[in-house]
């Protein structure tokens, strides 16, 4: 049995190489990413924790099956997030429906990050309070929401978001800018009051 300390000092990429030799090392990667990916899946798919974990199980099995195809020019995190993103999309296709509204009850972090975004605050000349942004997020288009989740919650840079969503850097920048504009429009339409 693998000792968890065996993994602690190793990079993701080293663990990928070790997993190819010994599948037990894969559990280290799972431990590293299961929490983050569960939250990510819940954020973009409106799943319950149980559904997200079921989906995540499929994500890891798929990752293991394709581990030899891991592109060394990517970060492992981008690669595994990409698989999760694709799995969510494919789940939507299977169910032939996408959630129209996503609830963010458990996502205080997300609201905090968005509220702290200087560009958006500057655009609207206001400081956002986390609670006040909640209803805005629920109305954002899904394609914008995912870009915002990756940028503000997962802390990914544009290059990583590009690798995860498999879109050019320019498109990622556009998505994030449009997301901000859409939020601003919703603010204006709703006449939402924000604390200065």
């Amino acid at each position: 049995m693998l000792d968890k300390d065996d993994c602690a000092e190793k990079t993701d990429e080293e663990l990928v190489a070790l997993t190819i030799e010994n599948q037990d090392f894969f559990s280290c990667l799972i431990d590293r990413y299961s929490g983050k990916l569960t939250r990510y899946i819940m954020r973009i798919s409106a799943s319950t924790r149980e559904d997200a974990e079921d989906l995540l199980q499929e994500v890891f099995v798929k990752a293991y099956r394709n581990i030899n195809g891991f592109d060394q020019s990517l970060k492992f995190s981008s690669w595994i997030y990409r698989i999760a993103h694709n799995q969510v999309i494919s789940q939507w296709r299977k169910l032939k429906s996408r959630p129209q509204v996503i609830k963010f009850e458990a996502d205080e972090d997300f609201l905090k990050f968005i509220a702290a975004d200087e560009d958006l605050a500057l655009d609207t000349e206001r400081k956002f309070e986390g609670e006040e942004v909640r209803e805005l997020l629920e109305e954002l288009d899904e394609k914008y929401r995912e870009a915002l989740v990756l940028k503000f919650i997962e802390g990914k840079d544009y290059k990583e978001i590009s690798d995860i969503l498999q879109k050019p850097l320019g498109t990622v920048a556009t998505l994030i800018n449009r997301a901000k504009k859409q939020m601003k429009k919703i603010i204006e339409e709703k006449g939402i009051e924000f604390q200065k």
Partner: protein
């Protein structure tokens, strides 16, 4: 209670899930690049035939076809080959997007790359005479091609003696100024030349030579030739007439 890592590993072991071998991923990558290159080459061939068709078209023909120069240009554009070029550019684009790093590039960059690649390669192939060979091959393999090919390459265009256009195959060279011609609908004509008749390189008046003639119908099955052009690859006006009569 099992954590997720244990569940996943148990599933992997129970279902004997193995990583796909590396060669499968490499093969897929190479195959996509191969399709990209094939599309690029086919696009280049389409462009190179389009160039050939444009460069060998009889642009001065409009006056005999009761149309304007603009009208003639519009019907002389090799739409078929341009459509092929566009199709292959988009297939190349589609394949490029599916290469490992294809998503990193904007659509306009990839389409631009495919277009520029096809145009450069096509122009290069044109200088090697590939366009003519491809067109000949397609004309021989696809009978309908001659009906949809460009204006001056269409045989029906040269089957209008009343409008001064006659095309066909030289059957017999009678003398310096007369030969017999079988037109594309199988009728025999006597073609007359005089000192004013222009002949174009690399034409040789000899049996089995396909020619295009611009002139005037004098009477039934007698046609006076003002200009005689080779069926393909019209060059400069020939200064001295060439006659090859096997009977002499």
């Amino acid at each position: 209670m099992d954590n997720l890592g244990d569940k996943v590993l148990r599933k992997i072991k129970e279902e004997c899930i193995c990583p796909k071998p590396r060669w499968q991923f490499l093969l897929k990558d190479y195959f996509i690049w191969f399709l990209f290159l094939v599309s690029l080459i086919l696009g280049s061939l389409a462009f190179c035939v389009a160039l050939y068709v444009l460069s060998t078209n009889d642009w001065d023909l409009y006056q005999y076809l009761h149309t304007t120069l603009v009208g003639h240009i519009l019907i002389s554009i090799p739409y078929l080959w341009i459509i092929f070029l566009i199709i292959f550019v988009f297939i190349a684009y589609y394949n490029f997007k599916y290469t490992k790093s294809g998503y990193r590039h904007e659509a306009y960059f990839v389409v631009g790359l495919s277009v520029v690649g096809s145009l450069f390669l096509g122009a290069f192939l044109h200088t090697l005479g590939v366009g003519e060979k491809v067109e000949d091959f397609v004309a021989a393999s696809v009978p309908v091609y001659e009906k949809i090919a460009c204006c001056s390459a269409r045989k029906d265009i040269w089957d209008q003696p009343a409008n001064g256009l006659l095309g066909g195959t030289i059957m017999v060279v009678l003398d310096e100024n007369n030969f017999e011609l079988k037109d594309f609908s199988g009728k025999d004509w006597r073609v007359q030349e005089d000192d004013d008749t222009l002949e174009y390189e690399p034409l040789e008046i000899k049996e089995d030579e396909e020619v295009k003639i611009i002139g005037e119908k004098k009477q039934d099955f007698v046609f006076w030739a003002r200009e005689i052009r080779p069926w393909k690859n019209k060059g400069e006006v020939r200064k001295a007439k060439v006659r090859i009569n096997p009977d002499e």
